[in-house]
């Protein structure tokens, strides 16, 4: 069911939704960008319609809501452990673009379908409904079309704002009442999506990837020096899920503390370190190879699904060394000489 609501009435809708849901969406944090006088666009809980930042592309992703940067798993004392409460026990609506909605299925696969199900992920995941932000235009470094993530068909509702009006396509029946409760006009609405990006990638065919050949390929050596192993690409990636366990204890009682999991990066030193001093993939180029192959080959091979990478291009947006992930995919394609050719 489609609705059109004048922008001036949007606050009413948000108020109604907030009676029952937490609403997470990209927000503009003034002056908090990485350079002076720039803003940071990242996820936060919105209180009113003007908090929504639907124009710019967010540099961080919604995954922080599902898998917090640091998440306490349990508290321990000498004799017992107590499961930590979820940071969010209320139902929530999360505003995401199409690429990120596709990314959700990648997170689900790792956390729910790869061997054991994850208790902590599941309890947060069950509370979330996803709102599709339509894309009127492609942003810098986006390559969703080639990754086939530019369009999404399933969402709680979609939102597009243009010409002073907001356009909604509401799929989830339980949410219809909120739209009926404010001044709205019924209409046929379908979310906007982009059909071409300036950035293009050619994906190597899985059958052309011979790990013995590609792992030793000289294309990775470029990254030994260019990459500084900072991990920003992983932390801004909507599909990176790795974490490391961390135990902390309280200063006033050293016998009590908590175990947390915190985000980890396969690009950062220490990721593969084993007790006794062993480590694997010591060169940054090898880590780049590990990451690129995971995103456009390994994941797909394991889950018989789509590629892990959803083409949001955030890793390119945030890399301090201006390394382009889309370029590295294309280099991999060239190195494997063939594959899907447009």
């Amino acid at each position: 069911m489609g609705y059109i609501i004048e922008n001036k009435n949007l606050d009413l809708l948000i108020d109604k939704l907030r009676e029952d849901y937490l609403v997470y969406a990209p927000m503009r944090y003034k002056g908090q960008g990485e350079f002076s006088d720039t803003d940071s666009i990242r996820y936060g809980e919105i209180k009113k319609a003007s908090d929504l930042e639907l124009e710019a592309k967010s540099e961080h992703t919604f995954k922080e809501i599902l898998m917090p940067i640091s998440e306490t798993l349990f508290y321990y004392t000498e004799d017992e452990v107590k499961v930590a409460e979820a940071h969010n026990t209320k139902e929530a609506l999360v505003f995401v673009r199409s690429c990120d909605l596709h990314s959700l299925s990648r997170l689900d696969n790792i956390y729910l379908n790869n061997g054991f199900g994850d208790f902590y992920y599941k309890r947060l995941r069950d509370k979330l409904k996803f709102v599709l932000i339509g894309c009127e235009k492609s942003y810098d470094n986006c390559f969703c079309v080639d990754m086939e993530t530019n369009k999404s068909d399933k969402y709680a509702f979609s939102i597009d704002i243009r010409d002073g009006k907001a356009y909604f396509d509401v799929q989830e029946e339980a949410l219809l009442k909120y739209f009926e409760s404010v001044e709205s006009q019924k209409a046929d609405v379908s979310p906007l999506y982009v059909t071409e990006n300036q950035t293009r990638v050619k994906l190597p065919s899985p059958e052309n990837i011979d790990v013995n050949f590609i792992n030793d390929h000289e294309l990775w050596r470029e990254y030994d020096k260019r990459c500084i192993g900072c991990g920003r690409c992983n932390f801004s990636c909507p599909t990176c899920t790795c974490y490391t366990m961390q135990d902390i204890f309280y200063q006033d009682n050293g016998k009590a503390g908590e175990r947390r999991r915190v985000w980890a990066s396969c690009m950062v030193d220490g990721y593969t370190d084993v007790a006794g001093g062993g480590a694997y993939r010591k060169r940054n180029g090898d880590r780049m190879r590990f990451k690129v192959l995971h995103k456009v080959y390994d994941y797909k091979k394991r889950f018989k699904d789509n590629n892990m990478c959803t083409g949001c291009g955030r890793c390119d947006d945030v890399c301090p060394e201006y390394i382009s992930f889309s370029n590295s995919i294309n280099k991999l394609y060239d190195a494997t000489k063939g594959g899907r050719d447009d």
């Binding site: 366990m245 175990r259 980890a264």
Partner: protein, 264 residues
């Protein structure tokens, strides 16, 4: 509701068997299914968790042979005075005893690599009728580093066992040299059908497999077990991933035909 796999359970230390200054076997209370080569995450709140292989088991216990080489294990050895540890697991595929029944079996173990295969070796050395023949090559750095010496003496009675030390000053029980040096001297009934299990440090496994292939072993008859950093053991944390394989879920035991494709 999904089971919360992250919560460790307390397990009583029933016995500590000291092999060397830095390697002890902790016999822990545990009732449940477990296979040789599987591992537990041993948890010491405040210090963290470490994946440790099962080196033996009974109906009400598992043996965890722990080497003092890291943050968690240092603490267990140096300061830990309690009578229990926290565990979660068992995780990983482990060795399936049935796979090796009826075969001529060679087990090559280097150092603490003997732990994950100890229960497998022990099973066949005790039930020697279940295999055609059993060859064991166990290598350690020096006399001080030998693990499971009582087991080794017992296994020697039913199997063709070579104990070797990289540096052997005057240990009359053991030979001298790397495990690879002894492999060509073993007389196999049929080398093309003999099944080999190789576990040890990465370099030792690499050169052992090369030597086995050189003397006539078939790739598909070789099994290996990998070690990696593992924070969860559940296929989530990502640290042990190689290619499309999660060592904690799909391994740590692999057929060499699969294992050789795992390139870091």
């Amino acid at each position: 509701m999904i089971k919360n796999e992250y919560i460790p359970f307390p397990s009583t230390i029933k016995e500590i068997i000291k092999h060397t200054d830095i390697e002890y076997t902790f016999r822990m209370s545990y009732e449940g299914e477990v296979k040789p080569g599987q591992f537990f995450e041993v948890s010491l709140p405040k210090f963290g968790e470490a994946p440790i292989s099962v080196s033996g088991y009974t109906n009400d216990s598992v043996d965890l042979t722990i080497r003092k080489v890291g943050k968690v294990t240092d603490e267990i050895f140096e300061n830990y005075v309690g009578d229990k540890l926290f565990l979660r697991g068992p995780y990983g595929n482990g060795f399936d005893i049935d796979t090796y029944k009826g075969e001529e079996l060679l087990v090559v173990a280097g150092g603490t690599g003997l732990s994950p295969v100890r229960a497998l070796v022990d099973h066949f050395a005790t039930n020697i009728d279940e295999v055609k023949r059993l060859h064991i090559v166990a290598g350690f750095k020096s006399e001080e580093d030998i693990l499971f010496i009582d087991d080794i003496k017992r296994w020697e009675k039913t199997s063709n066992l070579v104990l070797t030390l990289d540096k052997n000053e005057n240990n009359y029980l053991a030979k001298t040299g790397l495990v690879t040096e002894h492999l060509p001297n073993i007389s196999f009934d049929d080398i093309s059908k003999t099944v080999a299990v190789v576990v040890g440090p990465p370099m030792m496994m690499h050169f052992t497999v090369l030597k086995l292939l050189e003397i006539g072993f078939k790739e598909e008859n070789i099994w290996i077990s990998h070690e990696r950093k593992m924070c969860c053991g559940l296929g989530k944390c990502g640290h042990c991933k190689i290619g499309d394989t999660y060592v904690c879920l799909d391994g740590p035991v692999f057929k060499y035909t699969e294992g050789k494709l795992l390139i870091d």
